[in-house]
């Protein structure tokens, strides 16, 4: 560093100070890295630095000189110190930026799929959860029973006379007879759960009974195993008008439409009297079924007032209590709501089908959040 000329004795003149200042600040500004900057600092403010040397001359001055020159030198020292700090911070930032600039990766590289992305809930489970949400709100509880049933609960108590053609319509799976001659069967509907409920619970009763059911029937639209949900209300006043309301409200909620027209046709089931089948209004434009609009009708469920014989068989006085019941296929209403064209793939566990028609793990249906959205 060039030495500014100054008297050996006496105070430095102002122009020397200005030269020193401009030279030192220029050196600070010119330092390209922290090491160079440190050398500049040592050259100015180090033990043998130029500004330190000036400060050491103060002791030899007269008080007047010292007063004037001291102030000027200290101002210079502060200025240089500030410039060094600012430059250092700048160089640090630049060094960090330079390092980070070398650390890039290809963020388009694919990550492994998260478990929660690949996992799926089967449509049958999802629909059962949807029905649970709807009927819990209407004050129904969930009743369940065994798949392996007795003839008594599956047929006799439900007013199916022995040998009646209605029994034959059920295509029942039987187990081999036991030593005592009785034989169990696979329930052909979830109605035995209604029997079990009525035998065990004193009215008022409000339950839905979802579960697996079986019939030895297999073709395009039937599988030997399928799922049903039935509903049962028994109290002292439940009548057909209430049944209509429950069905209308639950269908609207399930299909998530604001209105749905229903058509009730008289029919026959041994366990209800009067009995009806119910069609719902729909449109089938372009192969897609939509509810709450259109001119077509689609059969969706069977229902009726619980037959007095059934109430009696379950220890309930049909002159004191009355009630209604209905039943429908869970697989079927799932197909209708979500547009699966065939039933058979429900039980084939093809992950391509399950990934497409299944539901995400955290899409738990609630009334507050919307069943399916």
């Amino acid at each position: 560093m060039a030495k500014a000329g100054h008297p050996i004795n006496g105070a430095p003149n102002m122009s020397d100070l200005q030269t020193l200042e401009s030279q030192t600040l220029a050196a600070v500004a010119a330092a390209a890295d922290e090491a160079t900057l440190e050398n500049v600092r040592l050259g100015a403010l180090g033990k043998k630095g130029s500004i330190s040397a000036l400060l050491s001359t103060l002791g030899k001055m007269s008080p007047d000189e010292r007063k004037t020159a001291g102030a000027a030198i200290n101002i210079l020292k502060d200025k240089v110190g500030e410039a060094l700090r600012a430059r250092r911070a700048l160089l640090k930032d630049a060094a960090l930026d330079a390092r980070l600039a070398t650390e890039t990766v290809d963020v388009t590289l694919p990550v492994r799929a998260a478990a929660v992305e690949t996992g799926r809930i089967h449509p049958i489970s999802q629909v059962m959860d949807e029905l649970t949400a709807i009927f819990a709100d209407l004050g129904f509880s969930i009743a369940e029973g065994p798949d392996v049933e007795s003839d008594d609960y599956n047929f006799t108590k439900l007013n199916f006379p022995e040998g009646h053609p209605a029994r034959e319509m059920h295509d029942t799976f039987f187990f081999n007879p036991a030593a005592d001659g009785t034989r169990k069967l696979l329930r052909t509907h979830t109605s035995p759960v209604q029997v079990r409920t009525m035998l065990n619970v004193k009215p008022p009763i409000r339950v839905i009974c979802p579960g697996r059911t079986y019939r030895c029937d297999s073709d395009q639209t039937h599988t030997p195993m399928f799922h049903q949900v039935e509903g049962l209300v028994v109290d002292k006043k439940a009548h057909l008008g209430h049944l209509k309301w429950i069905l209308e409200e639950s269908c609207k909620a399930f299909f998530e439409v604001s209105n749905v027209k229903m058509r009730f046709r008289p029919s026959f089931f041994p366990f209800t009297e009067p009995s009806m089948e119910v069609d719902i209004q729909c449109s089938r434009k372009g192969g897609e079924i939509r509810f709450g609009e259109g001119e077509d009708w689609l059969e969706i469920l069977g229902c009726g007032m619980v037959h007095p014989n059934v109430l009696r068989n379950c220890g309930i006085d049909p002159d004191e209590y009355q009630g209604f019941a209905w039943g429908m296929g869970i697989d079927r209403i799932a197909m209708l709501k979500y547009g699966m064209p065939d039933l058979r793939p429900f039980f084939e566990a093809d992950v391509r089908w399950l990934s497409h028609y299944g539901f995400r793990p955290l899409d738990f249906p609630t009334l507050a959040g919307g069943l399916s959205s």
């Binding site: 492994r112 478990a115 004050g139 969930i142 392996v148 319509m169 029937d217 008289p266 007032m305």
Partner: protein, 810 residues
């Protein structure tokens, strides 16, 4: 049940359109499955006249005809029928017509070099009969150009009703007409059935040969002989009606029985009296007895079947099908007419056991009108004499026509009670009366009546049945939708049981771990059930739908492994599936459990598997399965404090890479591990497959607590500190035992212990392994000094050494 409009109009005076009738039938519970008009598929065929027929120049068997079908000049048609000739009238299909039997639309053609512009048709081509020997010949008065369906009267829609099993009366057109009349669609025509005086005693007697207990099998049997009949084709109108509904006319005597089955829901049988040996006896069949039935098949009977026999043997299977031997044909001169009553349940069982479906069985198993037994015989006699002449005997009736007098006490208020529908009593009475119910007023009470049930309605037993009759005719659409809110007007209460809740949570928890939910059959093959400790006789189906779906599953794993393999066979080998569902330990109701199980095949690991730029993940293993099982328990809120884990699991798991989870010596809650290669082979599957199965019913319930308040949270203000220990132990020592021992050394101070390294190899003696653990110490009251820490460390080393034989690695 099929009927045509014109046949219906025999019984119903109505001006209603087909559309109104169809709509009303469905509305009142006689659901119309479909309406088919044969004219629809034959609409293009017309009556044509063959002006000229010449030999085809290039084919001996063909003729070239000029045909006039009423559409301008005659056109040229090549025809191969031997009977095609000039001057005849036939059925012509012009170019562009659809030929139902061939499922083609007719185009112009060149046949052996000669142009042909249409086709003269055989009956087979129109699907009218099997006759394809020649073209149809029409009488001279047929009008050229007229549609053939109009000429032949084929324009007759057939209504097919899906009849519910409770309505035997509607298995006859008369009964359907009665319902329609009640619904306001016209007036029922009541034909009086005249008694025909017998000219001589019936020469054949009938004996009902039953024990007292069996008497219900054949309550009554009416029989009459008509002698000197001339059997032949029945009149054209009857043949047409039978054909319209899909029956094949046979001869007058047989056609009459078929006709009355549909007209009046009254099945009858006719025997050729000349072939009946001696008298008739009605009895249970003898085991092994055989009969050649009218369908040409021989049936082997047993004592469950009821038969009509003569001195020769079985002549007819009661209520189901007659025998070939005494059937009526053109040679019959003396005919025995049977009109009988059978037990509905017995006919249903017999028919099912023999595998015979007939119109007679269809009606008897629903229950025929007992009061119409003798009138049915009279009506048949009338038709026999009308078509075939002859002289009738008196009617003999074996047994007795059962009484059908039944009445129900019916309060009008029952309609409102069960349906909420308010109807005037006059409307209620009107509906019942039109349906044939008799109403007898109650002297002292105008609010209720005695309702007499007509003999043809065995299904009506009580008040609810009457309400159904009233509401179906009045119209269910009139029932007003009425809100049925919750009993308690409050926020809805929780309704799920613990198991129901856990079943639902289990699905979400497992799906969150990347497993896809499958629903597989509840039944599997006996072989596979046995492999998984199932296959007990009590859980084997007597009538499985397929041999590989014969036994109730004892585990969810066989179904899941098979499902994973099916996906692998489609090229998706890395699959992770789970199922939450029932398994069966026995046929009692408590033997059904809810299990949750999952399989991970090949690279289907929780964090993704297979090759990836970030590194190869390898195959799913025992620890993935363990992680699934543990995550499931945690998600279900199962307190795992008492959970014990032992190595080893049932035989379908790898013996060295599997574990059992239990909450006590007997309370096993599940298994996890890699599946045994032999088990996979037995399931026709390849692997590796890691799997777990948890019995949800067996999981301990959370402790009942009086409030929802969670236990106090204690947070220390002192820093936790961690110390590492490397132990050398025998290879067989479980890591869990080392951790448990370490934690037991100082319960208040040690917050956690975990394994961070396991090593076997150079530097470690044979048969030994190094297990390095990290122990977290949490000071509670004061900062620990080095002396404190050393003391705890020494206790840990001592305790682990004492419990597991471990030494600190030097």
């Amino acid at each position: 049940m099929k009927l045509t409009l014109s046949w219906l109009k025999d019984h119903l005076e109505t001006s209603a359109s087909l559309g109104e009738i169809v709509e009303t039938l469905t509305r009142i519970g006689l659901e119309v499955e479909h309406v088919e008009n044969p004219a629809d598929k034959l609409k293009d065929f017309v009556v044509a006249y063959v002006v000229e027929a010449k030999q085809h120049p290039n084919a001996d068997r063909l003729r070239v005809c000029m045909v006039d079908y009423g559409a301008g000049a005659p056109i040229q048609v090549v025809c191969g029928a031997p009977n095609a000739r000039a001057g005849m009238k036939g059925v012509f299909s012009p170019v562009g017509a659809y030929i139902p039997s061939k499922k083609i639309t007719l185009a112009q053609g060149i046949i052996r070099g000669v142009e042909s512009n249409g086709m003269l048709c055989s009956a087979a081509e129109l699907e009218l009969s099997d006759d394809h020997d020649g073209v149809i010949e029409l009488p001279d008065d047929a009008k050229v150009g007229q549609r053939y369906v109009d000429f032949a009267g084929l324009n007759e829609p057939v209504i097919d009703i899906n009849l519910t099993p409770n309505r035997p009366d509607a298995a006859g057109i008369h009964g359907i007409a009665r319902d329609l009349a009640a619904a306001g669609l016209g007036k029922l025509k009541e034909h009086s059935i005249k008694h025909i005086e017998g000219k001589f005693p019936c020469p054949v007697s009938v004996k009902l040969d039953f024990t007292h207990e069996d008497a219900h099998l054949a309550p009554a049997f009416a029989l009459r002989l008509v002698r000197g009949v001339k059997n032949g084709p029945s009149p054209e109108w009857m043949r047409k009606r039978l054909k319209d509904i899909g029956l094949r006319p046979i001869n007058a005597l047989v056609d009459i029985t078929n006709y009355l089955a549909f007209d009046r829901a009254r099945p009858l049988h006719v025997f050729d009296a000349g072939k009946v040996a001696g008298n008739l006896v009605v009895r249970r069949a003898r085991a092994g007895e055989e009969v050649l039935a009218l369908d040409g098949k021989t049936y082997r009977l047993d004592t469950g079947n009821v038969v009509i026999a003569d001195d020769r043997g079985v002549e007819s299977i009661a209520g189901i099908m007659g025998g070939e031997h005494s059937g009526c044909d053109e040679t019959t001169t003396d005919v025995l007419i049977e009109s009988a009553l059978w037990d509905a349940g017995n006919i249903a069982r017999s028919g099912r056991a023999l595998g015979i479906v007939t119109d007679a069985r269809y009606r008897f198993e629903r229950g025929v009108d007992p009061a119409f037994c003798v009138p049915g015989a009279e009506l048949a006699t009338h038709l026999v004499m009308q078509f075939c002449g002859g002289e009738p005997s008196q009617i003999v009736v074996a047994g007795a026509i059962p009484g059908t007098e039944r009445a129900i006490e019916f309060p009008f208020s029952e309609v409102r009670r069960l349906t909420g529908l308010e109807l005037e009593t006059s409307e209620i009475s009107g509906i019942l009366e039109k349906l044939g119910f008799g109403l007898m007023a109650w002297a002292t009470n105008s609010e209720r009546v005695h309702v007499k049930i007509p003999s043809w309605r065995p299904d009506v037993e009580g008040k609810a049945d009457l309400v159904e009759e009233i509401v179906r005719i009045a119209g269910i659409n009139r029932v007003v939708s009425t809100p049925l809110p919750r009993e308690e007007q409050a926020i809805a209460k929780p309704i799920l049981t613990l198991l129901q809740k856990r079943t639902r949570q289990a699905r979400r928890a497992l799906a969150s771990r990347g497993l896809v939910e499958a629903v597989t059959w509840s039944f599997i093959s006996k072989e596979r059930a046995t492999l998984f400790d199932g296959g007990a006789p009590a859980l084997s189906l007597a009538n499985p739908i397929a041999a590989d779906l014969s036994d109730m599953r004892p585990s969810l794993l066989p179904g899941l492994v098979a499902a994973a393999q099916r996906n692998a066979d489609r090229g998706l080998g890395d699959v992770a599936l789970f199922e939450v569902g029932q398994i069966f330990k026995g046929d009692g109701e408590k033997d059904q459990r809810v299990n949750a199980a999952g399989v991970r095949r090949c690279g289907a690991r929780p964090s993704g598997g297979g090759r990836h730029w970030s590194g190869v993940a390898g195959n799913a293993d025992v620890f993935d399965a363990k992680a699934d099982a543990m995550a499931l328990l945690a998600s279900l809120g199962v307190a795992t404090g008492g959970l014990q884990l032992n190595s080893g699991a049932p035989a379908w798991f790898h013996p060295g890479r599997s574990g059992t989870l239990r909450f006590g010596p007997k309370n096993i809650v599940g298994w996890f591990g890699e599946l045994h290669p032999r088990a996979l082979a037995a399931l026709d599957a390849s692997g590796p497959v890691a799997a777990f199965e948890i019995v949800l019913d067996e999981l301990p319930a959370p402790k009942a607590r009086p409030t929802k308040v969670k236990g106090r949270l204690e947070l220390s203000e002192f820093m936790p500190l961690e110390r590492d220990f490397a132990f050398v132990v025998d290879r067989g020592v479980n890591a869990a035992d080392i951790l448990r021992a370490a934690q037991g050394a100082e319960r208040t101070l040690i917050a956690d212990a975990s394994v961070f390294d396991v090593y076997e190899g150079v530097g470690i003696p044979d048969g030994k392994k190094s297990v390095a653990i990290a122990v977290t110490l949490q000071p509670r009251e004061k900062t620990m000094t080095d002396v404190d820490i050393e003391a705890v460390a020494a206790r840990i080393v001592a305790e682990v050494g004492r419990k597991t034989g471990a030494t600190l690695r030097g």
